[in-house]
């Protein structure tokens, strides 16, 4: 019996398919073409060289990566704490979940401004520190002469804003762990620490992997938080791309930065997928 081919699903997929070709696939190729071709249309490495030789290039690369290295471990600890708390069903668990999830909808720009209000010289942190008698006069935290302080402010703002997404992924993962496992472990005398390290974390591995990939890719695009907190004081890759496009008006070097962020994102995804295989795959 020959069945008639059903075209309906393909028709339904067609708009999305074309949309993604035009607004995702095509610009991606355009980015590389912009970065690798000169005004005359020939291939050239001039834009890449200009990017690499720029004064701010080294700083942008180092800051971007340093931020990722500093932010991610803290985020995962905080997110895990939040997820375990929600999963342990305290009173008002729904309300706590709402509070923990709120930053999910807060933009990086708003988060940057919120923490600017706290860290600025006449801001709330100095007010609180002085009120409890730790300091005599306000400290200038966001001082360009003290880049480490500025970076710390960015780390705190990013942890505050972007931990929620990891938390939600981990809570969803925790809900798929059968309670029997944990009860069995408890009966055999496993404490909280052992339950977390021996049972919960290994079973959460797929969720952790997804969260890690997602967060790292987003961290490579860190932008508005840095602008709001550091001004001209610190720079990251996305900020350089923005600067080259809007201030210096050179879309080629801007596209080179875009291409670099893309390459870094894909490389880390592949790296994570290879090193953090899920247990099933390892045992095969």
């Amino acid at each position: 019996m020959t069945r008639k081919m059903n075209w309906e699903p393909y028709l339904l997929l067609l708009p999305s398919f074309f949309y993604l070709i035009f607004f995702f696939g095509w610009p991606m190729l355009q980015a590389f073409s912009l970065a690798l071709r000169g005004e005359d249309g020939g291939w050239t490495l001039a834009h890449i060289q200009r990017m690499v030789n720029d004064t701010f290039f080294r700083e942008a690369v180092i800051t971007t990566i340093a931020l990722i290295v500093a932010i991610l471990p803290i985020q995962f600890l905080v997110a895990l704490a939040m997820a375990l708390v929600v999963n342990a069903r305290p009173r008002g668990a729904g309300l706590f979940l709402y509070f923990y999830a709120v930053p999910l909808a807060i933009s990086d720009l708003a988060a940057g401004i919120v923490w600017f209000a706290i860290f600025t010289q006449r801001g709330y942190l100095n007010t609180i520190l002085q009120a409890i008698g730790l300091i005599e006069k306000p400290i200038i935290f966001l001082n360009y002469q003290k880049p480490l302080w500025v970076l710390m402010a960015i780390v705190i703002a990013e942890v505050w804003r972007a931990t929620a997404i990891i938390m939600v992924i981990l809570v969803a993962g925790l809900q798929s762990i059968p309670n029997d496992y944990l009860e069995a472990a408890e009966i055999f005398g496993a404490g909280l620490f052992e339950r977390v390290t021996q049972i919960i974390l290994p079973l959460l591995r797929p969720s952790l992997q997804v969260a890690l990939i997602l967060r790292t890719i987003l961290a490579f695009q860190a932008f508005a938080v840095v602008v709001a907190l550091a001004g001209q004081g610190a720079t990251v890759l996305a900020k350089e791309a923005y600067k080259w496009y809007t201030d210096i008006r050179n879309p080629h070097v801007a596209a080179a930065y875009a291409g670099l962020i893309m390459v870094l994102s894909i490389a880390t995804t592949v790296f994570y997928l290879r090193t953090l295989r899920t247990p099933e795959e390892v045992s095969l």
Binding site: N6, E8, Y10, L12, L13, P15, S16, F17, Y19, L20, P27, M28, A31, S33, A81, M82, V85, A88, P90, R91, F96, Y98, F99, V102, L104, A105, I106, S107, D108, L109, A110, I113, V114, F116, A117, I118, R122, N126, T127, P138, W160, I165, V168, I169, A172, V210, I213, L214, I217, Q221, A224, A228, A241, Y242, P251, A258, I261, M262, S265, I266
Partner: protein
Amino acid sequence: MRRWSWSRVWLHVLAVLLALWVIVPIYLIAVAAFSPRDVIYKYPKPLFPTQVSLETMLFFIRSSGVLDSVRRSIVVALLTLAVSMAVGAPAGYALARYVFPGRDTFRIAIVSTRAFPIVILSIPLAVSFINLGLYDSVISVALMHTALALPFTILVTSSVFASVPVDLEEAAMTLGCSRLGAFWRISLPLTLPGLAAAAIFTFVLSWNEVFAAAILTLRNRTLPAHVLSVLNESPLPFRFAGGFFLLVPALIFMLFIRRYLFNLWGRVVR
């Protein structure tokens, strides 16, 4: 009722501390945004709202370009919502309801778009939009935001449609409904809350997006792009009020989609 054990007490202490970590900064920016202007420059600052005033918020809203950019932000977000639903929901329905060759490939392709920094693509898109005469318009920003939201819309709508048993549609079709009629009368009403949550999230995504909006506009800025472009030359009241203003929709919308959080993210991430 059981007496609370120490571990239950510590659990609640930790829960409250973590909640404070999220809430206190929001509280502080709210206090700042509703203080009169001279209080904002004061040091040390009052930690509690001593004189509640709309002066600072009104100063922000009346600053040149703010109201127009708010209007543009809303238009862009609504356009993004409409286009991504119109384009993405059919694909979501197809993934949820049909079995066909290439289905898994398409799904994996959609999921793997998350490995790409899509926002960065606004730079080559800006160059194309200049050539097409679309640059610096709400349409160009909405098209970019739709590209950003579309993979998300497809996956979420697919999980929302999959949550309605296919039997219900089949029953309707046996009783004489067409496939479209079954969708319209059965699936759509049942999935409306889930679809609305997805739509709200798309709105927030567009309202919040700043990088692409700042690249793709010059004079016709959206609110985040406008605030960003003047931020470092702005007085403190403008910054504080602007930060709070940007944040408000987030708080309200999260209240609405709270129940769908895991429908939205729990399944999308797999």
